[in-house]
Symmetry: C2
Subunit: 219 residues, 2 copies
């Protein structure tokens, strides 16, 4: 006979860090950054919030693992045979695509210092430049620019996604900011409202690549 105060049934499939992280990614993708709480996570896994801490250190641990998983799945398939410039374009745009699909990744990459995926990207970029005969110092400078550039784009993209999820109008948001700047003309605002972010990123990368080529000519 069961006692009057009965516990909820124990789950049959085992809990694990992988399962927790996978579920976290589900929540983040479908309901946004704000929806990821240990209570929501526990509810979806039919367990208590305390149980999660046996597999995971804390919330940052979950976010770190989730970010790593998403980035790894996109960086991992880099082509070694392409021309260095093409390879670098593909690497950077790969990060963008990952963030486009999972905006919360952008926020997380900007929130924690030197996450492993960022170091991987740094090395990958430097390696392609090395293969192209670029001076070591320039390799480093260029990788720094490209990584931080895409990081900045990522943060901005994630912030916009967050604001939009709150029910704001995409262009209205930007227009409001522009109009707030008491009467100054802004040659930039018009372009910002109508441009394609991915195409803009590609153009930016090409600009940096042009700089690398220029510095390679006369070191």
């Amino acid at each position: 006979m069961t006692p009057a105060k009965q516990r909820a049934a124990r789950r049959s499939d085992a809990l694990s860090k992988d399962l927790i992280v996978a579920t976290a990614i589900e929540i983040l993708d479908s309901e946004g950054e704000g929806a990821l709480t240990f209570r929501a996570l526990a509810r979806r896994l039919s367990t208590g919030s305390g149980a999660l801490y046996h597999h995971v250190a804390n919330k940052d641990d979950v976010l770190r693992a989730a970010t790593g998983q998403v980035i790894a799945s996109t960086t991992h398939k880099s082509e070694h045979d392409a021309a260095p410039a093409d390879a670098i374009r593909a690497l950077i745009l790969g990060i963008f695509d990952a963030i486009d699909a999972h905006p919360w990744v952008g926020a997380q990459l900007a929130r924690e210092p030197w996450q492993v995926p960022l170091l991987d990207l740094f090395d990958a970029v430097a390696e392609r430049l090395d293969a192209d005969g670029v001076a070591e110092r320039t390799q480093f400078d260029a990788a720094s620019v490209l990584v931080h550039y895409v990081l900045g784009v990522a943060a901005q993209y994630a912030a916009a996604a967050r604001a939009l999820a709150g029910g704001a109008d995409p262009s209205a948001l930007l227009r409001a900011a522009v109009e707030q700047r008491a009467g100054e003309r802004s040659p930039v605002a018009a372009r910002l409202t109508e441009h394609d972010d991915r195409e803009q990123l590609r153009a930016g990368v090409d600009l940096v690549l042009a700089g690398i080529a220029a510095l390679k000519g006369r070191p």
Copy 2:
């Protein structure tokens, strides 16, 4: 005769948004991002947390205003007579210096989409390039790269400052991340641990400027 349950004395100097924001900056600078709460703010102003909401919409409002104030005080003194390249270097390094002095600004710039200071910077950069005879399209691409680049650096810098405030060793943090990447050689890691961030930013800006010059030659 005062009643048994007496209220605390009402403050003599008037509360205002400016006062609240100034106090918020004090807290952020001296105790870090995590220390800024409405309760701490109220305590320092000798008032209740509810009173603050008569002058300020919410916490984001305070952070936005604080960020705007810090950035404005550094951007504002830009030199109009310098060579375009020097002016741009000064603009970008000015943002870096502001973030170096107030790391929380870096986190805030990355957290909200298209804040006014960022648009101002965008326009200022584009304007210098316009004066230098750079094609309009390149103006936009270059401004995009530079703004997002410094934004990425800012986010990373703020994240590192946050981690360091938690009592971590600067280089140990990075070394741990490097060693986590099972055995891969990392030509980049050694450089990262010992480089000067500001000097690195300057080198990155120079690389972008080289790209602009290259594209100006053959459009």
